[in-house]
Subunit: 116 residues, 2 copies
DNA sequence: TACCGTTATGTCCACATAAATATAACGAAT
DNA sequence: ATTCGTTATATTTATGTGGACATAACGGTA
């Protein structure tokens, strides 16, 4: 087995709320499935939990990252906004920046690694 | 007004354990105070909690980051090892890397409360 | 109109994590 | 030998987070 070591970046605002890997994953899954419900199921979470994450994200930024509609064909759905796309991109880039950094690799090397 | 937006980096190993801002802060405080107890108090945590963090850190890496002694003058104390110092340095550099990155700044600007 | 799948929201409860409390060991100094 | 402050560890208690469950609204379609 190769490296079990991974890294997470979390962006915090004062009150304790923040944007981390969970919400980023939700964003990607919503873009893919066009549904809060389906996106949540992808990670084995209840609709309520998925919806709360979206709600928190939307409140966190100065405009919604996800817009949803209910009723209609298919019962409704959700879309990632342009702002959502930009946040997703920056966040992914940030994850890459950390993952590829010599500092992260240095710490990884110091961790006790399982023999492969 | 100070910036309400901050970032955290967490390094995870497979089992769910990991190294994040809390343990890094403990490490710095132990270097400063030469005591697990005093370091914990700095963050308003019980000795038990502080000790558990140190224990977990030490087990996480392939050698201890903190060594402690009990009894003697002053009752005992703790020291950050050379490995601990290196981990601390790399972790701080990683935090700086993220904080100064254009991606983090981009996301900060999209948040409701932009940094000063 | 009835149906359907989704969004939207509230309430209650289990469980995992953190806090509180207690106790002992240690070793230098007095 | 006693004292002292710290490390080390077990056990009990509290808390808050997520999960389970319930209900309603919505708007196309048949």
């Amino acid at each position: 087995m190769k490296s079990k070591v991974s890294c997470q970046v979390r962006i915090m605002v004062g009150n304790g709320l923040g944007m981390g890997p969970g919400k980023a994953a939700m964003l990607r899954a919503i873009r893919e499935t066009r549904s809060i419900n389906a996106a949540g199921k992808k990670f084995g979470m209840s609709y309520r939990r998925a919806w709360l994450l979206v709600e928190e994200m939307n409140n966190l930024f100065d405009a919604p990252l996800v817009t949803a509609r209910r009723g209609g064909a298919g019962g409704g759905g959700a879309e990632v906004t342009g702002l959502g796309e930009r946040v997703m991109k920056s966040y992914s880039d940030l994850e890459q920046l950390v993952t590829k950094s010599p500092q992260f690799r240095a710490i990884s090397r110091m961790l006790q690694q399982p023999p492969d």
